[in-house]
Structures are given as C-alpha cells and as structure tokens.
Symmetry: C2
Subunit: 76 residues, 2 copies
C-alpha cells in the first residue's frame, strides 16, 4: 500500500500490498516487470476519486482477474 | 503509437497502437480501463532505454500474453 515517489526508480516501490479487492475503485493500473532494480513485479493502482496510489499483489487471484477483466474491456 | 501528454486525461490518449510484438522492450505498462472519458481500455507501454511511450492493442493476443507473463513474474 505504501510506495515512494514517481519517476525512474532504482529500487522497489511497493512495501505493502492492498489485500482488499478494490477492483471497482481503480482508475488505472501500472505494471512494472521485475528487473535488476527490483526483482519483483510491481503493480500500482491509482484509485478513482482520491487519486491515491496503492500497491497490489501480483500473485493475488483477484488482481489477475481485475486486470484481465480490464483487458477484455468490460466496463468498470 | 501516438498519445497525448500525461496527467488526468478527459479523452482517449491512444490514436494508433503498436502492431509489432515488443514485449521484451517494455519497461512498464499502464492500463487504463474504459470510462466516461474514453470508452476503450487503453494500454500504454513505456519502452526500456528510450523511455518512449507506445499504445498497445488490448485485443492483441500477444499483449495479453505479455501482461500475464509479467503478472506471473517471469523475468524479462
């Protein structure tokens, strides 16, 4: 749920991930593949209304479902 | 492949989408669900090295494969 500021990051941005299924509140999702800067794939969702950024767990089934639902262009 | 500047957009950002499978060159991916501002789901990839932003087709099979590969945390 916590992350550092934006820009080119040379380390992992996510410290905690959101456990609650917040798919309906997502304005956009940023997916950052693992790299030499951060081994883990990081998923950062920006929430509607608040614009708050929260980290999601790439391994949580609901996260994969939400992302694939968005890719299928089913309306939020 | 073209898109407008960043920020809170009140319209679609993608005009054209990249047809070539550029999965290996992706630094990060931004997924924006369809909304009242833009009906279509938009996927904007930032490329490694150049930092260039390109739009991807949410319906292209290779795009779904690349995103799901990233979610599975298989190293790029």
């Amino acid at each position: 749920m916590s992350l550092t500021s934006v820009g080119v990051e040379l380390h992992c941005r996510c410290i905690m991930t959101e456990r609650r299924p917040i798919g309906r509140h997502i304005e956009k999702v940023e997916i950052i593949p693992g790299s030499s800067h951060c081994e883990e794939t990081e998923i950062i969702a920006t929430l509607k209304k608040t614009g708050k950024e929260v980290c999601l767990d790439p391994e949580a089934p609901w996260v994969k479902i939400v992302i694939n639902r968005i890719l299928s262009n089913r309306r939020r």
